[in-house]
């Protein structure tokens, strides 16, 4: 089996739900008491997909203005960017444009873009229509999903499709900048995916295993890159 390690950065304005979505995906739960991110938090997620062992290194960045100038540190060398807005906030949607501009300017390796409209459970307060977002996503050549961390909607799909596109990118673009670690993975012991509980999982109230061959856990950051 081949192995792929990719860096995913989650960007978007303050409070749109970046951490909630990532914790929902990685930890399998939703906490109302999630607190604003300081700097950036690091999660990993491992799965098996299309003959690949995929390890996502997810950088959940802080939306607060004061960390804005630090963003390049987190999106540099990213293979995928998830751009998140809150469907109840038009401003957060407009902010995406700045992010796209910035990424286009500063990232020279090919990158998978995915636009996420979060808090889709709050449909009554919707300010950004699905159509507008779809149109915009197409214009920047990005995937698009509406998600809800609260109701656990759209998140699995989004990450799955991003991973598929990453594999595709890896196979078609030779210098995609992704951690192609064929040799390393082949030598790795089979239980590589079941590293023990860490504080990340604890905060998420114990980890929830998702189905079939998938397995979420936070790594100890032993990435070979």
């Amino acid at each position: 089996m081949k192995s792929l390690e990719a860096k995913v950065v989650v960007l978007g304005s303050q409070g749109v739900g970046k951490t909630s979505v990532v914790i929902r995906y990685v930890g399998g739960m939703f906490s109302k008491a999630v607190s604003p991110t300081i700097g950036a938090s690091f999660f990993t997620y491992k799965m098996t997909l299309e003959q690949y062992r995929v390890k996502l290194q997810v950088w959940d960045t802080a939306g607060q203005e004061r960390f804005r100038s630090m963003a390049p540190m987190y999106y540099r060398k990213a293979n995928a960017a998830m751009l998140m807005y809150d469907i109840t906030s038009l401003e957060s949607f407009y902010d995406i444009k700045d992010w796209v501009k910035e990424l286009k300017k500063n990232v020279d390796t090919p990158i998978v873009l995915c636009l996420l409209g979060n808090k889709s459970d709050l449909d009554s307060g919707r300010k950004v229509s699905k159509e507008d977002a779809e149109e915009y996503a197409a214009s920047i050549d990005a995937l698009f999903y509406e998600t809800s961390a609260l109701k656990n909607m759209g998140i699995e799909d989004a990450f799955l499709q991003v991973s598929k596109n990453l594999i595709n990118l890896y196979e078609t673009v030779p210098n995609s900048g992704m951690g192609g670690m064929l040799g390393h993975a082949q030598q790795a012991p089979p239980d590589i995916f079941s590293s023990g509980m860490t504080s990340g999982d604890v905060a998420a109230g114990g980890m929830k295993l998702t189905d079939g061959g998938k397995d979420s856990s936070r790594s100890d950051g032993n990435c070979p890159c």
Binding site: Q14, T19, I23, A33, V34, S35, P36, T37, I38, G39, A40, S41, F42, F43, D60, A62, Q64, E65, R66, F67, S69, M70, P72, M73, R76, M197, S199, G200, V202, A203, A204, R218, D220, G221, N222, C223, C225
Partner: protein
């Protein structure tokens, strides 16, 4: 230190401490918690403040990070890929220090004296009297904004802290939304400007039982209003912490550059989300003596365990560009390892503790965040790797580096450190110590001693027992803290510093004692005589000496 002995026997300038000749003082070579190799940067902020006010200069530490980055650049010059990093690092970490238009702190000493004396009179008033509500002074004619300012709830707050820009724009208020305080802050800035027009500086105003203290730094005005026991000096220290917190979020360079470009800039935007750090810092200052004493509290730990912890860090976090590695548990320092020749200042450590204490976010995952430590280098950011080591999220590991790309390396270090600490049961030992809640004053077995603060000056660390009866309610704790402020101010008084102070109050007797080696603030029951108190503190010093290995970090560990 023979001088300690003499200092103590010849208290100067105080009517309070005419000690009899036969009073026996502690063995002079016994300074608990003393250490010859520096553990922390021990410059005392209070001394600094006094000095700065006298000279009209404020020291700014700068360039440390730049030089560290240059070192790194030299080392990695051969690697092409690193160049990009370098640019990024430079742009992020630090820039040529802009020349600073430091608002001059001119010092009209005579006037200051007057204020000071006025304050002393105030603090000498019967200490237990509850301040009466001053007749309601209406600051500004009524409107909805001023209704709020004139509300009892707002006025009755014990301490207000405001930050405003030079142009009078509100930036932060401890109580109430700063939006509603535009007018009040305008008045404050008007007062400040009015005095500045005369090439002078407004330092403090005493109005009834309220003291207003003003501090101008880098286009910002900090105002503290208190009806508590804090002196002007102590309020200045608190305002300095607030200033440092601003710097910690923005860096000094950014702050100065921003205001140079737009005098009217609304600083609330870049500070948005940092309000909780200001709030939390102020709350810490109300309960945590370490900030007042500019010193560090260590988690009581067998020195063998502490050695294991610091040696584990040395062995497994020995990576280039790592400046400080530390473990903090419930606001106490467990271990600190530092790069040779670089020291951590207690004020900076308090900012680090505040960062951890005020944010839940670190409990969710490993984090990587910029932080500026103003005492270390006010002009740039260090990168902090932050991660809890145990499932209960009690012991927090921080690795501070100048390498912005170090995250993955540091994350590996963390894994190894955690594994070793688990194997040696060190995390369990830390957990146990946390559960035991330090120690009770009874353990010192000194009759009638109720509580104390002991600071070892050479190591900038302090120890104190947990708060037991009668100080087991928030009100009583508050009162006790007020007593410490009173005592601390008396012995550090600029105009009349004391070595020793014996003070009989209504509910307790206080003894403050400052030598070159230590500061001791002890609180006894009300009936304790001078002699008994002296004997008691001698005994106490011997007890602390016996426990010093557990209570203090006595040797400095470097990579």
């Amino acid at each position: 230190m023979a001088t300690d002995h003499r200092e103590a026997e010849q208290p100067v300038n105080t009517s309070d401490s005419d000690f009899q000749e036969d009073v026996e003082f502690v063995e002079t070579n016994c300074v608990p918690g003393k250490c010859n190799s520096a553990v922390f940067d021990t410059t005392d902020e209070l001394d600094d403040l006094t000095l700065n006010l006298a000279n009209g200069v404020i020291q700014n530490h700068r360039g440390t990070i730049t030089s560290l980055i240059r070192k790194r650049a030299k080392r990695s010059n051969t690697l092409k890929d690193e160049e990009a990093d370098q640019d990024l690092a430079n742009s992020i970490a630090s820039e040529e220090a802009n020349s600073i238009e430091q608002s001059e702190l001119s010092s009209e000493l005579s006037e200051d004296e007057n204020v000071k004396n006025g304050l002393e009179d105030l603090s000498l008033q019967d200490t237990e009297s509850v301040p009466e509500e001053s007749p309601s002074v209406t600051l500004i004619p009524s409107s909805s904004e001023t209704d709020y300012v004139n509300s009892l709830e707002w006025k009755q707050q014990k301490k207000h802290i405001f930050i405003l820009s030079e142009s009078g724009k509100p930036i932060y208020s401890r109580h109430g939304s700063e939006d509603k305080l535009v007018t009040v802050m305008g008045v404050m800035q008007a007062l400040v400007s009015f005095v500045q027009d005369d090439k002078d500086n407004l330092r403090s105003i005493v109005a009834g039982d309220h003291t207003f203290v003003f501090m101008n730094r880098d286009h910002l005005t900090f105002v503290g209003v208190t009806r508590g026991r804090e002196s002007t000096q102590q309020m200045l220290l608190q305002l300095t912490y607030m200033y440092n917190q601003v710097i910690s979020v923005l860096t000094h360079s950014t702050l100065v550059r921003t205001f140079k470009q737009h005098r009217n800039f609304d600083l609330r935007r870049p500070l948005s989300g940092a309000e909780k750090f200001f709030d939390n810092l102020l709350n810490l200052m109300d309960v945590e003596p370490g900030l007042l004493l500019t010193s560090v509290r260590c988690l009581p730990l067998d020195s063998s365990v502490r050695d294991i912890v610091s040696q584990t860090i040395v062995q497994h976090a020995k990576v280039k560009d790592l400046v400080f590695a530390l473990i903090i548990a419930q606001n106490q320092l467990v271990a600190l390892v530092r790069m040779k020749r670089y020291y951590l200042h207690p004020m900076d450590l308090h900012l680090i503790i505040n960062l951890i204490n005020a944010s839940e976010s670190f409990k969710a995952a490993e984090s990587w965040t910029p932080i500026c430590l103003p005492k270390f280098d006010a002009t740039g950011f260090l990168q902090a790797y932050v991660s809890y080591l145990d499932e209960e999220c009690q012991s927090c590991l921080l690795l501070l580096s100048v390498d912005i790309e170090a995250f993955y390396t540091l994350s590996e270090c963390r894994a190894k450190i955690k594994e070793r600490l688990d194997r040696y049961n060190a995390l369990t030992a830390i957990g146990n110590s946390l559960q035991r809640h330090s120690y009770s004053v009874q353990q010192c077995s000194i009759g009638d001693l109720r509580h104390f603060l002991y600071k070892a000056r050479s190591t900038a660390q302090y120890t104190s027992p947990e708060l037991g009866p009668p100080y087991n309610t928030p009100e009583q704790q508050d009162r006790l803290f007020g007593l410490y402020h009173f005592l601390h101010d008396k012995v550090h008084s600029v105009s009349r510093p004391l070595k020793l102070l014996y003070h009989v109050g209504k509910y307790e007797t206080l003894l403050g004692w400052v030598t070159q080696g230590f500061e001791l603030y002890a609180v006894f029951g009300p009936l304790v005589t001078k002699n008994v108190a002296i004997h008691a503190v001698n005994k106490l010093l011997r007890w602390i000496k016996r426990e010093e290995d557990r209570l203090f970090i006595l040797s400095s560990v470097t990579f």
